[in-house]
Amino acid sequence: MKHLMTGNEAVARGAYEAGVTFASAYPGTPSTEILENMAQYKEDLIAEWAPNEKVALETVIGASMAGARTLAAMKHVGVNVAADPLFTIGYTGITGGLVLVSADDPGCHSSQNEQDNRYYAKFAKIACIEPSDSQESKDYLKAAFDVSEKYDVPVLFRMTTRVCHSKGLVTFEDRKDVPIIPYVKKPTKFISAPANAKMLHPVVEAKLVELEKFSNETPLNRIEWGNKKIGIITSGVAYTYAKEVFGSEASYLKLGFTFPLPMDKIRAFAKEVEVLYVVEELEPFIEEQMKVAGIPCIGKDLIPRIGELNPDIIAKALLGKELETIKANPEMIVSRPPTLCAGCPHRGFFYTLSKKKNVVITGDIGCYTLGSAEPLNATDSVICMGASISMGHGAAQAFKKNNVDKKVVGVIGDSTFFHTGINSLITVAYNGGNTVSVILDNRITGMTGHQENPGSGYTLQGDPANVINIPDLVKAIGIEHIVTVNPLKLDEMDKAIEDAFAFEGPSVIITRWPCALKNFSPEDIKEFDLKKKLCRVVEDKCRGCKICTKTGCPAISFDPTIKKAKINKYMCVGCEVCLQACPFDAIERVGE
């Protein structure tokens, strides 16, 4: 029996089959479903959400040192956060098999950049394995644990959005129970003090030589002979695209083990074919190393290094072939950017803040990034997790020292605050900042699809958990002016912002209301009035001023023929932000 699964589901299954007993991650598209799917194997393993990727990797390093097979998963930019421990475990090696899954996002479907994390493997001197579909995601993950333990090396398991989120058929195998390796204290291995680090570096270099030998021998790097006029060296999902375009009209060296590269195998393959292409997504990771080794090939001269590939792009780049298409009248297309959902608690906050003048708003990563979009146009910056509060502080200090009169507001979500926002707030309090930091606490990790977090009251595997009290935490950091407010009450929201602006010194506003799409917990139902409500436009009173549409609610539209606003009753959840925004009392609650 075969199962239709995403690459992420297959990795979770592979970890289970490989005998993993501990895994940790911070959610991030396209990696999130790996740990979500591992959670189901509660009897056999512990799967945890960590507050950030560095913590996730460090817990996993601890589990490996303790002797267990273990896995960390994160999106590509998450590896930046985890890079500090990553570079040092390249030196120390592991005890129990350790795999770090990096889910890259070519095309920036849901990310702030499209970095190619294969370079991390080379940079940190660890092995890199790349699957190209769901079955390989499961099978190669198991192989990764064997490599990790055989060579005492962490493995970077590099996936991409299409591998993570496309589904293919997968055959299951049974779980292998891997007994924990008995614990032995190894100070020269795990204490990476300078004296030991110096000793470890040559060991790592020797390990890479051994790993290259393995790379030349392993079936993870396989040759598929077809027509020898064209040779294609490829990895990851790009292999499936190349196969789609060339079929048996080319020969393939399909690389599953991409660091260290199998240079002997590559050289032997190159000799057999007339023209040699390297088909890889994003950076010329394979191509550059081949060229350094003196193996001529054609890659990024023809194939774009920007964005996601597909069979179309490869056919056009290498064969000059374009399929015939039909096109709709371009006037029939209006863009459809993502928006904050109907009833989103962030709307009341951004609507209120966007009306303030002379304010710089530093934003962060999450649904509230959409506060930067039309018609709210609130946010000035989004760089990375946690940066809202720290960038805001830097901007405010620069304005102060240079006598520029501007208010600065940093905006961050609950989960992002726990991720790295806490450190940022410490710098504000410690250095006597004067910013307003707003923590949008919607009681869940929203954008990635509702994951529990240290403030939500539950763990990944569904157990009740300690809840961080945000006001108490903020107070302990040293912030004196702290207000908690319901962001859907616009006058209370406005007062909170004005009071914070008037306060000399750093202040924190916590907006507390659950995400409209969330499965409400018993605690949510107790705390908040979440009865389903509905608003409607009273047509006689509506003067067509369009102020309600400025809230950016997808349930509200303006009908240009009758010049009245309209509320879609299937979408409206009765948050009443539009009702409060309307200057003519033309919106009412249904049933009153």
């Binding site: 075969k2 239709l4 598209t29 396209p30 999130t32 479907h109 849901s110 579909d133 299409r162 989120h165 496309s166 589904k167 293919g168 058929l169 999902v237 499936t240 695209y241 789609e244 597909n310 069979p311 179309d312 792009i313 056919a315 374009e322 399929l323 015939e324 298409t325 039909i326 096109k327 709709a328 009248n329 006037e331 029939m332 297309i333 209006v334 459809r336 950017p337 993502p338 928006t339 904050l340 649904c367 990034t369 959409l370 979009a373 039309e374 018609p375 954008m447 990635t448 699809g449 369009k546 549409t549 400025k550 950016g552 609610c553 997808p554 509200i556 539209s557 303006f558 240009p560 299937y570």
Partner: protein
């Protein structure tokens, strides 16, 4: 059947496209095909355009297709059909839902919802138009629109008659919604002549 067939489903986040694709893919697996399917998660889902691709045949390599490769474009929302039309083979076909979801620039009055989309597309390619919301209201649940569309798609493509779709629906929707979704599927099939 050696040749790989490509289905592109498009619409707007929240319309149930992922479930529709899942039903479709599972039906095809039961019929013995190799199947690959691709979907989009994350930020794009928040009211933005959503597409999934389902590919089936004896052996499928790539999970995605490029322009000019879909045998059928199945659109859950009128304007989205225009956006994805160049993915269909000129000799392919379109099944489109006559259902408008205005996007943010239209809601705010900065743009208007285009008129004449159905006529534009029907002129260019073999097109079946469904009134999914009316049909769904007829059977009493607007949310069954997605399964009505899958029913129409299955008929339009002339997919393997041996597939037991009732069984697939049972395996993929909550028990209390099984009957209404089976009804929706048949209603969708009836719309295609």
């Amino acid at each position: 059947m050696a040749e790989v067939k490509n289905i592109l489903l498009c619409g707007v986040g929240g319309q149930g496209i992922i479930l529709a694709s899942k039903i479709l893919a599972n039906g095809l697996i039961n019929a013995g095909y190799d199947v690959k399917m691709s979907e989009v998660h994350g930020m794009a889902q928040r009211g933005g355009s959503v597409t999934t691709q389902v590919r089936f045949g004896e052996k499928v390599h790539s999970p995605i297709i490029g322009k000019g490769q879909a045998d059928i474009l199945v659109s859950f929302e009128t304007m989205e059909t225009s956006k994805w039309l160049d993915y269909v083979k000129p000799q392919g076909q379109v099944v489109m839902n006559d259902y408008e979801i205005p996007s943010a620039p239209i809601l705010s009055g900065a743009a208007t919802y285009p008129t004449g989309i159905i006529e534009d597309i029907s002129q260019k390619i073999h097109t079946t138009v469904l009134k999914g919301s009316e049909l769904a209201s007829q059977i009493g649940n607007i949310k069954t629109m997605n399964v009505i569309i899958v029913g129409a798609l299955v008929k339009a493509m002339g997919l393997d008659a041996s597939i037991d779709w009732d069984k697939v629906i049972k395996a993929n929707v909550k028990e209390k919604f099984v009957d209404i979704n089976i009804k929706a599927f048949k209603l969708g099939m009836d719309q295609v002549k």
